[in-house]
């Protein structure tokens, strides 16, 4: 199974990386905010995951954590069907993570969206102004679990 092989290669290089789940064509690994850039560079240059697909945030309010997941596809022949999910956990009180724009150029707008939807601060990002929300939005970031939609 290829997912196991990829997981082995990542954990061999970075022993503290945790494997969350594996499927036939998917692999999710999680790491910390200070190591994610190194893991990202290895995933891109060592494993050939070069085609950013999307970036998602998750609010784990019970654990008091926020999670950022990068979904990275590949254009390397033979592994186009594989998607690597690279995630990091941060505390809800101080959600600061480094930007991965220097690894995958295309994450710029995805990170900007995650910033406004979850209030996660991407350090080193050139522009974190509101992209989708109105300019005068001064409430909680809407996709946090403690934000309740006004219609509900």
């Amino acid at each position: 199974m290829r997912a196991r092989a990829f997981a082995a290669r990542i954990t061999e290089k970075f022993p503290d990386v945790k494997v969350d789940w594996m499927k036939e064509r998917r692999l999710k690994v999680s790491t910390t905010a200070d190591r994610i850039a190194e893991v990202g560079v290895f995933a891109k240059e060592g494993l050939g995951f070069d085609h950013i697909s999307t970036v998602s945030g998750i609010d784990w309010i019970a654990k008091n954590e926020l999670e950022v997941v990068y979904f990275i596809g590949s254009t390397t022949p033979g592994q186009e069907d594989f998607v690597l999910a690279l995630s990091e956990h941060v505390q809800r009180s101080n959600p600061v993570v480094p930007t991965l724009m220097h690894v995958w150029r295309g994450v710029e707008y995805h990170e900007r969206e995650t910033h406004e939807m979850f209030g996660i601060n991407f350090q080193g990002h050139p522009n974190q102004n509101h992209l989708y929300l109105p300019e005068d939005w001064n409430d909680l970031p809407p996709l946090r679990k403690d934000y309740v939609s006004p219609g509900r």
């Binding site: 969350d20 789940w21 064509r25 998917r26 999710k28 070069d50 085609h51 950013i52 697909s53 999307t54 998602s56 998750i58 609010d59 997941v69 979904f71 596809g73 254009t75 186009e80 069907d81 998607v83 999910a85 995958w104 150029r105 295309g106 994450v107 710029e108 707008y109 995805h110 969206e113 939807m117 522009n127 509101h130 992209l131 989708y132 929300l133 109105p134 809407p142 996709l143 934000y147 939609s149 509900r152």
Partner: protein, 372 residues
């Protein structure tokens, strides 16, 4: 002011202009432009005029209630935005969709791809000053809508592909009608080639405009027609055959120029392949049920899934996190327009103002889809 100082020693030369949201060249979307005379020196897209909070709404509704509002972001292509959602929920609930249901999913998805590409080519014709093409395409698009309406029952919002299969069986007569439409459309596409794609005027206006190299396409994460026009052969239908796509013969059209012309032409080649797939699927449609019975409030086991399909504009993906309750804990819609958004400011640099509409629309960017 900082921007002006950054781009020119004499800051007065640079003028900032706002294109949209009320502008024929940019509907429900705004591009901030910094111009030096007739040249664009820098641009910044300003999306969000149609941001409706689909992802937050998804957390308030159960998996079946989510179907109708999830197809609204891109009603041109409404089956294709539901396809990965249905695949993801199927995978989480471990459902084995019957073969006839899989075939009908493919038929509807490909019909929607044609409907969406027809709209794309029509407006591209308009932006290149070719009024015949918009009249033809908008009219011919309605025949494909007729076919889809026979199956799905609505003009644009079908809610046809649902978790567990498709909503209803194909009605009698639709197969014959579909095959007739395929035959007629093949001839029609030859005429599009003659009047538009081989037209020297169109070549003059779109060749070499807004060129995106293959390396940039990879770096920016471009998908769909944009990536395939730049020589990057990404097609989820081929890379990761889902549903019944393994059963059909088709190619992934790729062009290498990476300009506005290639992006439009790839859409036409895409439609040719879609017609092939629809014809094969209609001819060998298996018998049997079309969907599995699900309760009105299905319980989805806890887990995470990342599902993706090839929509008309590119890779459409869903990230669904379930905590075992009837509602998704997190529903991330990864739409192709948002994936191609980063390409726009890269292309709008050192181009003429007159080339902005073809470049913008050539990305097949649909603001409603991008904003969600």
């Amino acid at each position: 002011m900082t921007v002006q100082a950054e781009y020119s020693p004499d800051a007065d030369r640079i003028m900032s202009v706002s294109l949209g949201p009320q502008h024929p060249g940019a509907g429900h979307f705004r591009i901030k432009l910094w111009l030096d005379g007739d040249y664009v020196v820098r641009s910044e897209p300003d999306a969000g005029y149609v941001h409706r909070g689909e992802e937050k709404m998804g957390e308030y509704r159960n998996y079946i209630q989510n179907v109708p509002h999830l197809e609204r972001p891109v009603i041109l292509d409404s089956s294709n935005i539901l396809f990965p959602y249905a695949l993801g929920v199927d995978e989480l609930m471990n459902l084995k969709v019957p073969q006839r249901g899989q075939y009908l999913r493919v038929i509807m998805s490909e019909a929607n791809r044609i409907i969406s590409h027809m709209y794309f080519i029509a407006i591209q014709g308009l932006f290149l000053g070719h009024t015949t093409l918009i009249t033809w395409c908008m009219g011919d698009r309605d025949f494909w809508i007729d076919f889809a309406e026979r199956i799905g029952g609505a003009r644009v919002t079908f809610a046809y592909i649902i978790p567990g299969g498709v909503r209803n069986d194909i009605p009698p007569g639709a197969i014959k009608k579909g095959l007739e439409t395929c035959d007629w459309f093949d001839k029609r596409m030859d005429e599009y080639e003659k009047i538009f794609f081989q037209n020297p005027m169109v070549h003059q206006r779109s060749d070499g405009i807004g060129v995106l190299s293959r390396d940039d396409a990879i770096a920016f994460g471009a998908t769909g027609t944009v990536a395939r026009a730049s020589g990057l052969a990404v097609d989820v239908r081929k890379d990761e055959p889902y549903s019944a796509y393994e059963d059909f013969e088709f190619k992934t059209p790729v062009m290498t120029q990476g300009d506005v012309y290639a992006r439009s032409y790839v859409a036409l080649l895409d439609m040719r392949e879609s017609v092939k797939i629809i014809r094969q699927a209609l001819k060998k449609l298996p018998q049997g049920p079309v969907r599995l019975k699900l309760g009105p409030q299905p319980r989805v086991p806890a887990g995470e899934v990342y599902s993706r399909t090839e929509a008309a504009r590119g890779e459409m993906s869903y990230y669904i996190v379930s905590d075992g309750s009837p509602r998704p804990y997190r529903l991330k819609i990864g739409v192709p327009s948002a994936k191609n958004l980063g390409v726009l400011p890269h292309l709008l640099r050192n181009v003429h103002v007159a080339d902005i509409p073809p470049i913008y629309w050539g990305l097949n960017y649909w603001p409603v889809e991008s904003d969600r």
